[in-house]
C-alpha cells in the first residue's frame, strides 16, 4: 500500500509528460519564443495560413506584441508602434482595458501564394464582449506565411489651442438648518414616449425621456411589468442604455430588457423615472456625422457613421445610443454600442451599431446620441 500511491503518481506523471510531448499544442508554438519562427504544419486544425493566424492571435491575446509583429509580412508593413497602438489601444480608450478573448476564422479564398481569412475578434471589455471583423490577407513570403498588416490610419492630432468656454453647473449645498429652506428642487424630466415589444422570447421596453428643466439631471428609468393577476413579474432599470446626464432640453433614448418575460404575459407596465440634480459640463460636444444604415462585412444591418469630438479634450470612452422610429415617429428600437478608440479633438472616429433585421425594414428615421467618459473629468 505504501508503494502503490507513489507508483501511481509516477505513472500518471510520465503518461501526462508523454502525452504533452506528443500532441503538438498551439500554445507550444506561440508565445514569445515564436518570434520569427517559420510556421510549419505541426499545429492542429485548419490550413497552414489559418494555423499561422491562430498563432498570431494567440500572441495578441497575450499582448506579446513583439511575437505578434513577427508574423507580419514585409510588404506594406505597419510600424510596430502603430501596430501596438491599433491592437492594444492608447489614451485610456476602451481597447486598453480589453483582452482578446476568442476569435473565429473563416477562409474566404486561398492559393499557394496568398489567402484571405475573415477574422472575427471578440474582445472582452469592462462593458461586455465586443466583436469586430477584419479580413486578413495572408501571403507566402520565402516559404513562411505572413499577415499583411498595412499602416493604420491613426488619429494624429496637431498641436493646437482649442478655446473652450462652455457652461458648467456646480452644486452648492445650503449650510443652514432652517426647515423649508434646505435646497433646490430636483430637475424635471419627463418620459415622452414608451413602447413595449417582444424580442428573442423576452420583452423590451423602450422610449425617450426629455429634460424639461434648465438644470442638468442625472436620470435613470425603471420599469415594472405587471402580470395578468396584477402582480409584478419583472423589474429592471435602463442600466447603461440611456444618457444618464441630461443637459437642459436634451432628449435621451432608454431601453430596458426583460430577457425572461414573455410579453404575452404582461398586462401593464409601470414606468418610474428617477432624477437627481448633478454638477455637469456642457463640454465636450460630440457631433455624429455621416450616419447611414448599411450592411457590414458579414451581412448584418448596421447604423454607421463618424463621431467628431468638437472640443479640445480627449474623450477616452464613448458610447453610442441610436433610436429608430417608424413612419409615425414611434420608437421601434434602441441600439447601442461602445467605440473602442478614444476620440481625439477634431478627429473623426467611425462607429457602428447593429440594427435587427426586423427593425431595419421598418425604420423610417433615427437619432443618435453619445455618452462620453473622460478620464480628466473623473
Amino acid at each position: 500500500m505504501k508503494i502503490i500511491i507513489p507508483v501511481a503518481i509516477l505513472v500518471v506523471t510520465i503518461a501526462l509528460l508523454v502525452a504533452g510531448g506528443l500532441s503538438p499544442s498551439q500554445v507550444g508554438i506561440a508565445v514569445g519564443e515564436g518570434v520569427g519562427t517559420t510556421f510549419t504544419g505541426a499545429s492542429t486544425g485548419g490550413t497552414i495560413p489559418e494555423q499561422m493566424v491562430n498563432v498570431f492571435l494567440q500572441n495578441v491575446q497575450r499582448r506579446n506584441w513583439d511575437g505578434a509583429y513577427a508574423y507580419l509580412a514585409t510588404q506594406n508593413k505597419a510600424d510596430e508602434a502603430s501596430f501596438v497602438r491599433e491592437l492594444g489601444g492608447r489614451d485610456a480608450s476602451l481597447r486598453t482595458f480589453s483582452t482578446l478573448s476568442s476569435w473565429d476564422l473563416k477562409p474566404l479564398r486561398a492559393n499557394d501564394s496568398e489567402a484571405e481569412i475573415r477574422t472575427t475578434f471578440r474582445w472582452s471589455t469592462p462593458v461586455g464582449v465586443m466583436a469586430s471583423v477584419r479580413d486578413l490577407k495572408v501571403v507566402n513570403e520565402n516559404n513562411a506565411w505572413k499577415i499583411v498588416w498595412p499602416q493604420p490610419q491613426l488619429a494624429d492630432v496637431p498641436a493646437q489651442v482649442v478655446p473652450v468656454n462652455y457652461l458648467r453647473w456646480d452644486l452648492v449645498a445650503h449650510a443652514g438648518q432652517e426647515w423649508g429652506n434646505s435646497g433646490v428642487d430636483g430637475p424635471r424630466v419627463r418620459i415622452v414616449s414608451m413602447n413595449a415589444v417582444a424580442y428573442n422570447g423576452g420583452s423590451v421596453i423602450m422610449g425617450e425621456a426629455l429634460n424639461e428643466d434648465t438644470v442638468p439631471a442625472f436620470v435613470n428609468v425603471n420599469a415594472s411589468l405587471m402580470g395578468k393577476d396584477g402582480k409584478p413579474i419583472g423589474e429592471e432599470s435602463s442600466f447603461d442604455k440611456i444618457l444618464h446626464v441630461l443637459l437642459p432640453k436634451q432628449v435621451t433614448p432608454y431601453r430596458i430588457d426583460f430577457p425572461n418575460v414573455d410579453i404575452q404575459t404582461v398586462k401593464n407596465v409601470q414606468m418610474d423615472i428617477k432624477t437627481t440634480l448633478v454638477p455637469a459640463s456642457a463640454d465636450p460636444v460630440i457631433g455624429v456625422m455621416n450616419q447611414s444604415i448599411d450592411t457590414d462585412a458579414i451581412g448584418r444591418k448596421v447604423l454607421k457613421g463618424q463621431l467628431l469630438n468638437q472640443s479640445g479634450q480627449i474623450v477616452n470612452v464613448s458610447h453610442v445610443i441610436a433610436t429608430f422610429y417608424d413612419t409615425d415617429g414611434k420608437v421601434i428600437w434602441v441600439s447601442d454600442g461602445y467605440v473602442d478608440s478614444a476620440l481625439y479633438p477634431q478627429t473623426p472616429e467611425t462607429f457602428s451599431v447593429e440594427v435587427p433585421s426586423t427593425v431595419a425594414g421598418s425604420a423610417h428615421n433615427y437619432h443618435v446620441v453619445v455618452n462620453q467618459y473622460s478620464l480628466e473629468r473623473s
Binding site: 426647515w179 423649508g180 428642487d185 434648465t214 432640453k249 432628449v251 460636444v285 457631433g287 450616419q291 467628431l308
Partner: protein, 286 residues
C-alpha cells in the same frame, strides 16, 4: 327594608361627598408659557398632579386654596389632565393654547419655475409661538411676491388649523423672485428662480466654411421674450447625400452653433426639446 337602607346610605354618601369632597376647577383660558391657577374646594391636604404633552408636575396642596402652576411647566400647547387626590381623586381635562406668533415656517415651492405658468407657485406658512407651538387659532399671514422690488402678488390669508397657503401664477419675466410671509412683524423670505420657458420661434442660419457648414441659431428667446438660459441643448440635423449628421450643441451667450459636414444637396434643421425650428436647404460643395 333592605332597599331603603341601601338608598339612605347612598344618599348620605353623595351628600357627604358634596359637602366635604374636593373639587378642581381649571382656568378658563390657558396659554402656553403663562402661569396657571386652579381653584379647589374641600378641605385638608391633597396631592395635585398635572400632566400634558410636554410636562408632568406633582405638588402637595391644601384643598380650598388655589393651586398655582409655574409658567415653565406649561410651555407646550395641548390637552392637559389635572388630578387632585385626597381620600379620592378628582380629574379635569383642559387645553393649553399656543401664545402669540413668534416665529414662522414658510415653505415655498418650487425653487425654480417657468414663466407664464398658471398656479405654478405655492407657499405654505405655519405660525408658531415662542415655545414652537403651532398656533391653531386663526392668524392673518401676509404673503407677498416681488421681483426687482416690484410687487407681483400680495394677499393676507388667515390660517386654518394653523396653516395658511396660497397659489399663484409665475410672472412673465425670468429672474430672481422673492416670496415673503409675515405675521405680527415676523417675516420669512424665500427666493425662487423664474426661468425662461421653451424656445419660441427657433430660427437658424448657415454658412459654408472650409471645415463644412457652420450652423447657428438667432438669439433664442421664449415666447415672453426671455432669453433661454445658456447650456440649453439645441440639436442640429443635416440630411445630405453623405448621410445624416447631428450635433447636440449647448446655447452659449444666447446662441447655439455647430459645425456640420454634409455634402451635396442638404437640408438642415434644428430642435430644442419638443420645439422645432426652421429648415434650411443648401447645396454644399466640398
Amino acid at each position: 327594608m333592605r332597599a331603603r337602607l341601601i338608598l339612605a346610605a347612598l344618599l348620605g354618601f353623595l351628600l357627604a361627598n358634596r359637602c366635604f369632597g374636593q373639587e378642581l376647577t381649571p382656568p378658563r383660558q390657558a396659554i402656553a408659557g403663562n402661569p396657571l391657577s386652579f381653584s379647589t374646594t374641600g378641605s385638608g391636604s391633597a396631592t395635585f398632579y398635572l400632566f400634558g404633552p410636554g410636562s408632568a408636575v406633582k405638588q402637595d396642596v391644601h384643598l380650598g386654596q388655589s393651586i398655582e402652576v409655574r409658567a415653565e411647566d406649561v410651555v407646550t400647547a395641548g390637552r392637559y389632565t389635572a388630578i387632585v387626590c385626597s381620600d379620592t381623586c378628582h380629574a379635569e381635562h383642559f387645553f393649553v393654547a399656543a401664545g402669540a406668533p413668534a416665529s414662522m415656517s414658510f415653505l415655498a415651492h418650487p425653487s425654480r419655475a417657468m414663466v407664464k405658468q398658471n398656479d405654478s407657485i405655492s407657499g405654505v406658512a405655519f405660525p408658531f409661538d415662542k415655545y414652537e407651538n403651532l398656533i391653531l387659532s386663526p392668524v392673518n399671514v401676509n404673503f407677498e411676491m416681488t421681483a426687482n422690488k416690484n410687487s407681483l402678488f400680495s394677499r393676507a390669508i388667515p390660517t386654518r388649523q394653523g396653516v395658511a397657503w396660497f397659489r399663484t401664477n409665475s410672472g412673465n419675466t425670468a429672474g430672481l423672485v422673492l416670496l415673503s410671509a409675515s405675521v405680527n412683524g415676523i417675516s420669512t423670505q424665500r427666493a425662487l428662480q423664474l426661468v425662461a420657458s421653451d424656445p419660441c420661434n427657433l430660427r437658424i442660419k448657415a454658412q459654408q466654411t472650409a471645415k463644412g457648414v457652420l450652423v447657428e441659431t438667432e438669439p433664442i428667446h421664449d415666447c415672453a421674450g426671455n432669453i433661454v438660459p445658456d447650456g440649453t441643448i439645441v440639436t442640429f440635423t443635416a440630411n445630405s447625400g453623405a448621410g445624416r449628421s447631428t450635433v447636440d450643441a449647448p446655447i452659449k451667450q444666447g446662441v447655439a452653433r455647430a459645425n456640420l459636414t454634409p455634402a451635396g444637396s442638404t437640408t438642415i434643421s434644428a430642435a430644442s426639446g419638443v420645439v422645432m425650428g426652421n429648415e434650411l436647404r443648401m447645396d454644399v460643395r466640398r
